[in-house]
Symmetry: C2
Subunit: 339 residues, 2 copies
């Protein structure tokens, strides 16, 4: 193969994003300068925050420019190297984007360039040991500060991050209640992931169910969803509770601004704290989390699900799955096999 | 005088509260049991949170019952005592309520029973050195954690709490921007209280004015107001900013739930923290604040305003002044002079 297939940003989001926002293109495989590495992308990571990168407004990363390759986390293989620390054949994690080949350099880009630890598969690196697992780990433990005996409520609980959050909370001695969409996801959370209770937001009154399943209210709410679910949760917060603001996927594809919760003042009455975070800030501490997560996975204390698609042509439609709730666990897509 | 005049809660709030919510009554002056003290109320404190106490829902204090004396902070004089620590004639701070005489005991009621320090007037005790001053002090310093060189934005800035917040922030080396209603209040803040800039929300586009007066965005937002002003503020928060949720007076008298800010997710992008608090939690540490505030007042570093009304019959209408923005500084009402 001598061409570099790419998906470029072709239209800023307006409402639900999908293939119409992207344009297929081909370009020559780029050449390297000193210090650079040519990575062939093997697996792409799909993350709800990618939609935020497509919008032309200030964010925690610069917006993807119109006509630029769509940004995405990835695991790939070094196929050419002008950097002494990276050799052809090595597997690396980086922000390779929606293309076959990426020119990257250590210390550049939002996720830099790191080798996969021995024995770690691309699927593990992009889910439990990657941004997803780190988000769950640092968000819950550093921002949520759960204590044994407390109740932890998780929205988007069957998502890649939410399911890990709940399992870490269980390991810390908490009662864990998840909110997810549909009986299948809920069953998996209860029977496989060990959640104490699960609320199916598509088939139940979330407010009433939180009251039912959190008889002593909740102490930590790890929120991936925002909107109505955040408002329902805010009716049942305990004194000195903590809201970990991880995401607000319910509003990402709205065409008009979505009002916030009408009961925000409950944070005052209950001395609550609501705090946002961006996982990139924690990358210098990544190894703390990776070591502990690897040990938990090896011991069978944490399970994780990967929803794996294939085919370069399916990249745009795969991103959409995140916002329609179709993915079960971490959404990945395989472009190529390692050689 | 042998009767105890009282204002009782007669109707739960629906929309703007006013005299219609209260009923005048007279009862005999109560008699004391062992350990109790009879206090004649001299000055009543008016606080925005009093409306919350009138609503029949769980709060940080039990709701005032229908037909019960309206709860209020007060300074009074001991006129009879069955407690060794309190002598007739002493001035005390307590939660005396809307009545001439209150039976109180140390350690009982939300504010207990404490003597006024030597040289402290009732007006000082109920404003700069009381709940108002403590709210400003601990809210700003403990929750807001301002650092020299940072920008502190304050809503309800001409209010009793807000004006103290801004002045403490100046003493800590911050740039201080206030939001208040009307040119008179704004002028006082700028010319007398030393705010760096003031936004008149009644006569300007708050969003544009925050952008103008916070060229490096804000690091701490001390919010007494909520609603649209909170939403405007959330467009201009700095990385790692802190919102001190003190109150939401803009929504207190709404008949329907008021939606929260549509841009709450900015807290994620900017790693922001939004935290509520109730000053009663800080009462064990009150002397820390009182000593420092007294020193600042003595040195002329902090000024405060008292809006003093008189007359038992004017109590209900005086409470309403808080929600219509009529009060300038701390709203008090004098019932009687000390003997």
């Amino acid at each position: 193969m001598t061409i570099n297939r790419q998906w470029l940003l072709a239209a800023r989001p307006a409402g639900m994003i999908g293939p119409q926002n992207f344009e297929y293109a081909e370009s020559p495989i780029p050449t390297l300068s000193a210090g650079e590495v040519l990575v062939k992308n093997l697996f792409l990571s799909f993350d709800p925050t990618q939609r935020n990168w497509m919008v032309d407004r200030p964010g925690y990363l610069p917006p993807v420019g119109m006509g630029e390759t769509m940004r995405a986390g990835s695991v790939g293989q070094v196929v050419d190297s002008q950097h002494d620390d990276f050799a052809v054949g090595e597997l690396v994690q980086t922000t390779g984007g929606w293309q076959d080949y990426a020119v990257v350099a250590p210390g550049q880009g939002p996720m830099g360039l790191t080798k996969l630890p021995a024995g770690v598969s691309p699927e593990m690196m992009l889910s439990i040991l990657g941004i997803t697992g780190l988000t769950a780990y640092f968000g819950l433990l550093d921002i949520g500060l759960p204590k044994a005996g407390e109740t932890v409520l998780v929205s988007g609980a069957a998502g890649a991050t939410g399911s890990i959050v709940g399992q870490i909370a269980k390991l810390k001695g908490c009662r864990v209640v998840g909110i997810a969409g549909g009986p299948e996801k809920c069953r998996w959370l209860k029977e496989q992931a060990g959640f104490d209770a699960v609320i199916d937001y598509k088939n139940a009154d979330v407010n009433a169910q939180i009251a039912l399943h959190c008889p002593e209210k909740w102490d930590v709410f790890f929120d991936n969803v925002g909107g109505d679910i955040l408002e329902a949760a805010l009716n049942h917060l305990n004194l000195h509770s903590r809201i970990v603001m991880c995401g607000g996927i319910s509003g990402y594809n709205a065409t008009d601004p979505v009002p916030g919760p009408a009961n925000l003042m409950n944070l005052i009455t209950n001395r609550g704290r609501m705090q946002g975070f961006i996982i990139l800030d924690y990358l210098p501490r990544a190894m703390e989390a990776i070591h502990e997560l690897m040990a938990w996975v090896a011991a069978g204390d944490i399970i994780y699900q990967v929803d794996l698609k294939e085919g370069f042509e399916n990249i745009p439609s795969t991103l959409q799955r995140l916002y329609t709730g179709q993915n079960v666990g971490k959404q990945l897509l395989k472009i190529a096999n390692p050689v």
